[in-house]
């Protein structure tokens, strides 16, 4: 079992989600503050665990779930898990309070809270799961709750489309990830992360490694909006701002990064890992920053910068050096603090002014002083200015780049330039300069709306000024979990005048310079927008739809004859494949053809010819009655064959059934319209070919069966025993009424009921005439 508290913590969100709508209905105004008590309590719980983690302890919980499959509901909280859990519950607290103000008066606020809590609980599950399947279950639950939260303002068609897009892209990735995780479980023999992570060497040596890695990466990349899946994140900005801040910046989109960090000890360290993870990360970092330049919507601007930051994180994991991993952990925390704050500020600005267009905004510092000071702090952290925490993160990333060489450091500096530009756009552009006319008259936001940004920005400042607050108890255990071995972490604001510091200074200056040239920059870049990945997504969807349409039109067209044709052809294909075996042909040519011909009696041959002729007549007959009569001839001839081969009872049955069915046919056909030839002669030729193919094949098979006899003939038994056992001299009679008496009874019953049916048909007709 272990720490039961851990399980309670993870599952509590689901329980509170059930009552959230009721709470909201009764206490609409205070709902946010009330519901926030849950994430607050969780935050305190995780903070209280930090000293234990710093001592190298790990919290675990396991309960049997599906024991037959080795599935357990197992949780494990180490440094990495708790870092994410703190982000999830801590920022969650602020978001819940914020949403109370932001969506004040919305009739669906209760439902919103319910899904927000479901999301929070699922995300905690992702961060704290030990079992891979448990992780996957929570992973898909985050996709589902994100889908519903993005589509919250469902009156708008674009919100619906964006919700679906996010769901399809991340859900798809999640499924690919499941396949990858199953492969990992297959190779390592365990679905528990704690066991899996100790088998890195075996995993990396396995031939399934590349496939498993690529599948897992598909999941991680789609969730964390890496190229080429990045497009869903900016579109998801249709969601209400608290959702964007929470899911699409601070937590859910980091799930992919979390998974990569988590699996680093097991899968990392290979060339494939370096190129796939590091390369895609770097590409995303640059692409996200570049695409942000031309954005004018505050939230989309932030979304692209989030894409860029996620790329940076992915790249750092891919590089995998101990410095890179340390930088990654620091950056996760720093980014969550400043980006969460900026999203909330964007929402507050939108709330206060009615617009998010940066070209329409300016000089808001006078009307919104508290929000503005939080914005300035957060933007400084984003730009990497001391003494904020973002500065420490950026210094570390620069050191990583300098360690690796000119290409990497150039890419990092380029993305940092974009970041400074975005930070200046928000802080300088929106809050300073000339006051613009906005749809609503700007006013300071209510306390619920500024509390979050102020707390987050304040934390940036606090941790930045005193990094030793987190370095030993939070950062070190996390880095240890990712690198798979204990590490010591020391963070400092001041390292002396290093190349990294000089680069930082230059970046900030050039970035601000870019900001002042923003109009020219936007004009220059406007024609160079790139949306290839999104177009591919649209093309894929259209292609699937076109395929489906073609299927319906060509194949599923409702014509029975088409269905029948494909069924016959498929049957011929399935069974005909047997003929590919060479021995069959030998077997056929070895049949005793000579004796077959010699043994054949003239009336057998005559019957065979009759059957063939009658069949042809049935096919070509221009009238229904003619066809039925021809079929009757076939049936009677077959019963004669039975007779000739000594099965009189069979022959009799066949004879009576044949008579009845011809009779019924005639009765039914009487009511049908005239026989017309509908198909073209080309279609008829095609049908003839298919029929000949099927018939020919079956004939071949029957020939194969010739000469197979297992049981001795039963005739002798009947002849010997007719008199002693059944006291009858007429053997046929004895067979019918004695040896096979039950069969006869059944046949008589069937015939009787069939005759009743025929009578009913006749009667029905007579009544109609009368």
């Amino acid at each position: 079992m272990g720490d039961l508290a851990l399980a309670v913590v993870v599952l509590s969100g689901f329980v509170v989600a059930l009552v959230a709508p009721t709470v909201t209905r009764h206490r609409h105004n205070a709902a946010g503050w009330l519901i926030a008590l849950l994430p607050l309590a969780l935050t305190l719980y995780f903070v209280a665990q930090l000293p234990r983690l710093a001592r190298g302890e790990v919290l675990t919980f396991a309960a049997p779930w599906v024991a037959e499959l080795g599935l357990a509901f197992s949780l494990r909280a180490d440094g990495l898990g708790v870092l994410f859990a703190l982000l999830i519950s801590g920022i969650g607290t602020l978001i819940v309070i914020y949403a109370g103000g932001y969506l004040h008066g919305n009739p669906f606020l209760g439902r919103f809270y319910a899904w927000l809590l479901v999301f929070m609980a699922s995300m905690l599950g992702v961060a704290l799961a030990d079992n891979l399947i448990v992780l996957f279950v929570f992973w898909e639950l985050t996709s589902l709750s994100s889908y519903i939260l993005i589509g919250f303002e469902h009156e708008s068609a674009s919100a619906r489309a964006a919700a679906l897009q996010a769901m399809l892209v991340t859900g798809a990735g999640g499924l690919a990830m499941l396949a990858g995780l199953l492969l990992l479980g297959q190779v390592s023999g365990s679905l528990e992360l704690s066991a899996l992570l100790t088998q890195g060497d075996a995993l990396r040596a396995s031939p399934l490694y590349p496939a498993a890695l690529l599948l897992v990466l598909l999941g991680a990349f789609s969730k964390s909006a890496q190229f080429p899946f990045h497009f869903w994140l900016p579109n998801a900005m249709q969601a209400p701002t608290p959702v964007s801040a929470y899911l699409h910046s601070a937590t859910m989109v980091k799930a992919g990064v979390y998974l990569l960090a988590r699996l680093n000890p097991a899968l990392g360290g290979t060339d494939l890992w370096l190129y796939a993870v590091g390369g895609i990360g770097a590409a995303t970092m640059l692409l996200g920053g570049y695409l942000a330049l031309t954005q004018t919507d505050l939230k989309r601007l932030l979304a692209y910068s989030t894409v860029s930051a996620l790329g940076t994180l992915t790249m750092l994991i891919g590089l995998g050096t101990s410095l890179a991993l340390k930088a990654m952990v620091v950056f996760v925390l720093a980014h969550a603090l400043y980006k969460g704050a900026l999203f909330l500020i964007a929402g507050a600005v939108d709330h206060a002014t009615g617009t998010r267009d940066v070209t329409q905004l300016g000089g808001l510092a006078r009307a919104m002083p508290i929000t503005a000071s939080a914005a300035v702090l957060a933007a400084l952290a984003m730009a990497g200015v001391p003494p904020l925490f973002g500065f420490i993160a950026k210094e570390l990333i620069y050191e990583v780049g300098l360690e690796l060489g000119v290409w990497w450091i150039s890419a990092i500096v380029a993305s940092a330039l974009f970041t400074v530009f975005i930070a200046s756009t928000i802080a300088l552009g929106v809050f300073f300069g000339q006051t613009r006319h906005t749809p609503k008259h700007a006013h300071e936001a209510p306390s619920s709306l500024w509390l979050g940004p102020v707390v987050l920005a304040g934390l940036s400042l606090l941790i930045g000024s005193a990094p030793e607050l987190v370095s030993a108890i939070l950062i070190a255990p996390t880095v240890a979990a990712i690198s798979g071995k204990p590490v010591a972490v020391k963070l400092a604001l001041w390292h002396g005048v290093t190349p990294a510091l000089l680069l930082s200074l230059a970046t900030v200056l050039v970035g601000i310079g870019l900001f002042f040239a923003r109009d020219a920059l936007r004009r220059l870049l406007a024609p160079l927008r790139w949306s290839g990945a999104e177009q591919t997504y649209a093309l894929a969807l259209d292609g699937l739809n076109a395929l489906a349409r073609g299927q319906t039109r060509v194949l599923q067209n409702g014509y029975l004859r088409r269905y029948l044709m494909t069924i016959v052809l498929a049957t011929v294909g399935l069974t005909g494949a047997v003929l590919l075996n060479q021995p069959i042909w030998n077997q056929l040519s070895n049949l005793p053809w000579e004796t077959i011909w010699q043994d054949a009696r003239f009336y057998e041959l005559g019957l065979a010819v009759l059957i063939v002729l009658a069949t042809i007549a049935a096919v070509v007959s221009p009238s229904r009655l003619g066809a039925v009569a021809a079929l009757g001839v076939v049936g009677y001839s077959i019963s004669l064959i039975f007779l000739a081969f000594g099965a009189p009872d069979l022959a009799m049955t066949q004879f009576t059934i044949e008579s009845l069915s011809v009779l019924l046919f005639v009765l039914v056909f009487y009511h049908l319209p005239r026989f017309t030839r509908l198909s073209t002669s080309r279609a008829r030729v095609r049908d003839a070919v298919i029929a000949a193919l099927a018939g020919g094949l079956m004939t071949l098979f029957v020939l194969l069966a010739v000469g197979v006899q297992f049981q001795p003939s039963i005739s002798d038994y009947f002849l010997e025993n007719a008199l002693p056992l059944a006291h009858g001299r007429n053997v046929v009679n004895v067979i019918l009424v004695d040896f096979r008496g039950l069969d006869t009874l059944g046949e008589i019953t069937v015939l009787g009921i069939a005759a009743l049916g025929a009578y009913a048909l006749l009667k029905l007709r007579r009544e109609k005439i009368e």
């Binding site: 779930w65 492969l183 029948l564 069924i567 399935l574």
Partner: protein, 480 residues
Amino acid sequence: MSLSVPDLNFRVIAPALIVALTALIVLLAELVTPAPRKRWLGVLGLIGLLIAAGATVGLWGAPASAFGGMVVADNFGLFLTLVILLGAALSILLALDFVRAHRVDQGEYYVLVLFAVVGMILMATATDLIVIFLALELLSLPLYILAAFKRADARSLEAGLKYFLLGAFSSAFFLYGIAFIFGGTGTTNLMKIADALAKNPRNDLLLVGAGLLLVGFAFKVALVPFHWWTPDVYDGAPTAVTAFMSVGVKAAAFGAFFRAFLVALPAFAFDWRIVLAALAVLTMTLGNVAALLQSNVKRMLAYSSIAHAGYILIALVAMGASGLSSALFYLLAYTLTNLGAFGAVIALSDGERERLEIRDWGGAARQYPFIAAMFAIFMLSLAGFPPLAGFTGKFLIFSAAVETGWAWLAVIGVLNSLVSAYFYLRPIVQMYMSEPVPGWDRIRVAPLVALALVLALIGVIALGLYPTPAIVMATGGFLR
């Protein structure tokens, strides 16, 4: 030679016998039941199904064979029997009000359902090809009639006729296959076929016979390219009938399919596994892709049922104990989920008018929050979302495939689930995010239908959250 009397152990076929007896009683009672009380005949049928379920549970855990190796009562067969009885009971619950609303309130409806159930149970427990064939016909004939049960509706008649004609064809292939297998081995008993095969592994006649058997099974469970009837018949048949046949036939036919191939033909596994894997890919892909565009809920569910047959086929390809138990679990999960989905369609129909077009579902969540929520959960379960029954089933099948070295097939299955998410989500989007469609006034949901939905919902959630008991039950295996 001499003729011997086979061992007549009626206990072994008690579930089928009880249902058959119930059917006969209902048939007689129908004659003396006045028109307004016809629904009591359905209740009578339900009681019979319940007793049969009790008898099935009584047979549990003590595998026995009877009638000269013709039928068995092993845990594999009994599990399927329970699934079939469950499916039949839920679909009768759905039908009680449905048949009245559609003015086909006749006792024969229940009689036909019960007779089909007899066929299904026999099919799941038969160990002789001849009995399998008889059971196949016994389950098919009532379904042909049921599909055309709404005689005033041309679409229903068309459905019945198409199903009948194509079904007769595939039955003929099936029978022909049996003849070839008999020709190849001298027996129609599954275990004896395996023995004969072990002695003489090169047996072309048997291969031909197996191919033809496959055609028959493929038709009944709707594998591509033998699936053509499915959309037309599911669409045209009365919804309550569609619900019944979408689950019962699958369970029964897959039961015989698994038994025939795993008990009689394991020696040919190398050949048929590849063929079945190809069919599984075709079936899943075509089913899911075609479902993307359907605007009609019943047609969408028809293609979805084709796709699900493909997933189950993966379990057969995987073979082994895990493949077998995963298939059983999947059939149970699918039965509950699919009946729930069709049940929601029935629940929201207004008299004879049904919400068959997906756009008719607009705003349903506002008018019927509970039915809509249940329908959404059934759709998510069909799509394989955790933690619902559908996910557990898919997970079991895919891990069985990975375990036995068919990882690529599992990956294709996973990709297909992804395509399917798109069309399963569409009705949900429509219900929750669109305006109500004018012309759909709020109606009272029949309590019995709601009961069936709630029962299915409990099953779907329970199988997702705590599947262990069902998985344990599903690992019984065959009596060989």
